[in-house]
């Protein structure tokens, strides 16, 4: 027990929590945007890989770090546009389209990496974002600007969703597209916009891994983080504030299992610690299942004039 209090009393632990949470916050907000407009986006896992690769490659080619972030967002938006074309314009299955995009984006990124670096064994590195040491806030000053961006995005998104006409229209499209269309809101336009914006965030979430958390691109570096974001959105009942809470809670347990694993009593196989985050996600889904308020039109394709 004292071991755990030791860990919790250490500032480095909380720095790690916030670092682990950052891509989850960005990804979860991205999924939240898509789902609030009524579209599931299982492309997130692949879009994060593509964002991580494209952002890193841009910086490796000599561009500034922020250009890498912009390229990652752009690449994410492109895949989002493809998802919107398939699920909104053509009203195909959102599950299958999303999985197809994950497959495509992952394969394209790995292909691109191998074409660009056919014979490297150790991954080439870049100089990542530096911590914001100028910031007089403990823990946060050890993070990079991308973490600050993710944290600031939470209230911004909440404001847009709940306090602006745009947010109202977006939520309406996800709850009752027929009614929204009746009010003169373009369902297709709204959904496409939400998916593109959400997917851009997913791209940035991926870029955080290669441009801030690490300094290189590895295969399977996203490793299920995208799927966890999809689970976190349900846990958060589609609310930005709760999404932040969920991501932090998740990161807390992830960081804790890392420390416990390192403290190395080896009472349990280390794999059991690694399972914790996934088990926790499922538990969270079950716990909130009864009161989860799904957007009513989630996963329901909308074809004008059909009911």
């Amino acid at each position: 027990m004292s071991e755990i209090t030791d860990i919790l009393g250490n500032a480095a632990f909380w720095v790690a929590v916030l670092r682990i949470a950052t891509p989850l916050i960005l990804g979860t907000l991205g999924v939240l945007l898509c789902e609030r407009a009524g579209v599931l986006n299982l492309g997130i896992e692949g879009i994060m890989v593509a964002g991580a690769f494209a952002g890193w490659l841009t910086v490796y080619a000599g561009a500034p770090l922020w250009a890498g972030v912009a390229v990652a967002a752009l690449v994410g938006a492109m895949f989002g546009l493809l998802h919107a074309l398939l699920t909104v314009a053509l009203a195909l299955s959102q599950h299958v389209s999303g999985l197809g995009i994950t497959l495509l984006a992952t394969a394209l990124s790995y292909y691109g990496y191998r074409v660009s670096f056919p014979k490297v064994n150790t991954p080439p590195t870049i100089t990542p974002f530096a911590p914001m040491e100028w910031l007089p806030v403990p823990i946060l000053s050890a993070q990079t600007e991308l973490t600050l961006f993710a944290l600031l995005l939470v209230p911004v998104l909440a404001y847009v969703l709940y306090r602006t006409p745009l947010g109202l229209a977006l939520r309406m499209v996800g709850e009752n597209p027929q009614a929204a269309e009746g009010q003169g809101v373009s369902v297709a336009g709204m959904r496409t916009g939400a998916i593109v914006a959400g997917s851009a965030l997913m791209g940035v979430a991926g870029a955080f891994l290669t441009l801030s958390a690490f300094n290189a691109f590895f295969f399977s570096m996203v490793n299920g983080r995208g799927w966890i974001c999809v689970a976190l959105v349900v846990f958060a009942s589609w609310r930005p504030g709760k999404a932040l809470l969920g991501a932090l809670l998740f990161a807390f347990f992830d960081a804790l299992q890392l420390r416990l694993q390192q403290s190395g009593d080896a009472l349990l196989p280390y794999q059991l610690y690694l399972m914790l985050p996934y088990l926790l996600s499922i538990l969270a889904l079950v716990l909130v299942a009864r009161k989860a308020s799904y957007p009513q039109a989630l996963m329901k394709p909308y074809r004008k004039g059909e009911r």
């Binding site: 398939l86 299958v96 197809g100 056919p118 794999q271 996600s281």
Partner: protein, 353 residues
């Protein structure tokens, strides 16, 4: 721009759609080959030859197709009933582990049962392991409304970590020089070779037989009817008296069992032991195959051979001209998307206004 349902399936679209799908996929992969700086014609020729150009190529392709047929059927059964089982990868590993748990050489000898009894027990254990793994998410969906996509996806990670722990611990092969692999199956439990001097094993017959069985189930049984009704319109099906929860549970058991069998057959037919990399995503590919096959059990056979051929061909081609093997995954993903779009246009047309 909007979509309009066609009065009747268009004949010309039925011919044009697959051609356009193939053309789109070829175009995407051509751009990638050019990016890698390889000669286009030669790369394609090598890819096709490597997958289908010789008896050896066919034997490798069919061997690779066997697990894909089973995971493809697993996805077909589940998706037909709109149970989105993305967990075939985990179910495959659970089946493989169960097979080794029953048929493996524990303590040097394993269970002392006659082989005619042990073999069916091994297959049964694998099917059961896969089925039970999907039962949880199916019940959570039916009872609590928890989305099965997320739960089955997350369970894949849990299972793989569990396999990793077992290969380090309880099921580790002590003679494997520290390499994380499980103990081997007892002699005599392996599947026989279908063609001498190749790796094609009798698992292919299992795959074909199960495809026919699933097809017959869809066509001629009450359960098959219930599944199709549930998939077409869940509310109408419930209203018409289809036992929804029971059907979802049965679908989960069948789908999980098929994926579990994929693992057992892969172990019994190819490796004889479990490793952490025994499946390069066969579970996920099964979903692609089911969609390429239009959720038709017999179509799964053709789609599996196509995907397996691309994967095997890409290996051969990559060794010769140095285009990364990941192009196979791009081809599979691009064909999935283009086939879905093409299929749509046989039912719908675009109206510009």
């Amino acid at each position: 721009m909007r979509l309009e349902r066609r009065q009747a399936t268009s004949r010309s679209a039925l011919v044009l759609a697959p051609i356009c799908a193939v053309a789109f996929t070829m175009l995407v992969s051509a751009l990638l080959v050019l990016w890698a700086g390889a000669p286009l014609g030669r790369t394609y020729a090598l890819l096709v030859q490597g997958g289908f150009g010789s008896v050896f190529a066919w034997s490798e392709t069919l061997t690779r197709a066997i697990p894909l047929i089973l995971t493809g059927l697993s996805a077909t059964v589940a998706f037909k009933a709109r149970l989105f089982n993305i967990g075939a990868e985990g179910q495959l590993y659970a089946g493989a582990l169960a097979a080794v748990a029953v048929g493996g050489l524990h303590g040097g000898t394993g269970f002392e049962l006659p082989l005619w009894l042990l073999f069916p027990l091994m297959m049964l254990a694998a099917a059961l392991a896969g089925a039970l793994l999907l039962l949880g998410p199916a019940l959570m969906k039916a009872r609590l409304g928890v989305d099965e996509v997320v739960t089955t996806l997350l369970i894949n990670f849990i299972v793989l970590l569990g396999v990793s722990a077992l290969l380090d611990g309880a099921m580790k092969d002590p003679t494997a020089m520290g390499w994380p692999q499980s103990v081997s199956l007892q002699d005599g439990l392996e599947l026989g070779r279908l063609v001498a001097q190749t790796r094609v094993h009798t698992g292919l017959l299992w795959g074909v037989a199960l495809a026919v069985l699933v097809w017959l189930m869809f066509k001629h049984t009450v359960l098959g009817f219930d599944i199709r009704a549930l998939g077409a319109n869940a509310r109408a099906a419930a209203f018409a008296g289809v036992p929804v929860t029971r059907t979802v549970v049965l679908v989960a058991l069948i789908s999980g069992a098929l994926a579990g069998l994929a693992g057992a057959i892969e172990v019994a037919g190819r490796t004889s032991y479990v490793t952490l990399d025994m499946s390069p995503g066969y579970g996920y590919s099964g979903i692609v195959i089911a969609m390429l096959a239009g959720l038709h059990p017999l179509g799964v056979l053709a789609a599996s051979i196509f995907v397996a051929g691309v994967l095997v061909g890409a290996d051969t081609m990559s060794r010769a001209v140095g285009v990364p093997t990941y192009i196979a995954d791009v081809i599979v993903a691009a064909s999935l998307i283009s086939v879905l779009v093409a299929a749509l246009f046989t039912q719908f047309r675009l109206r510009w206004k």
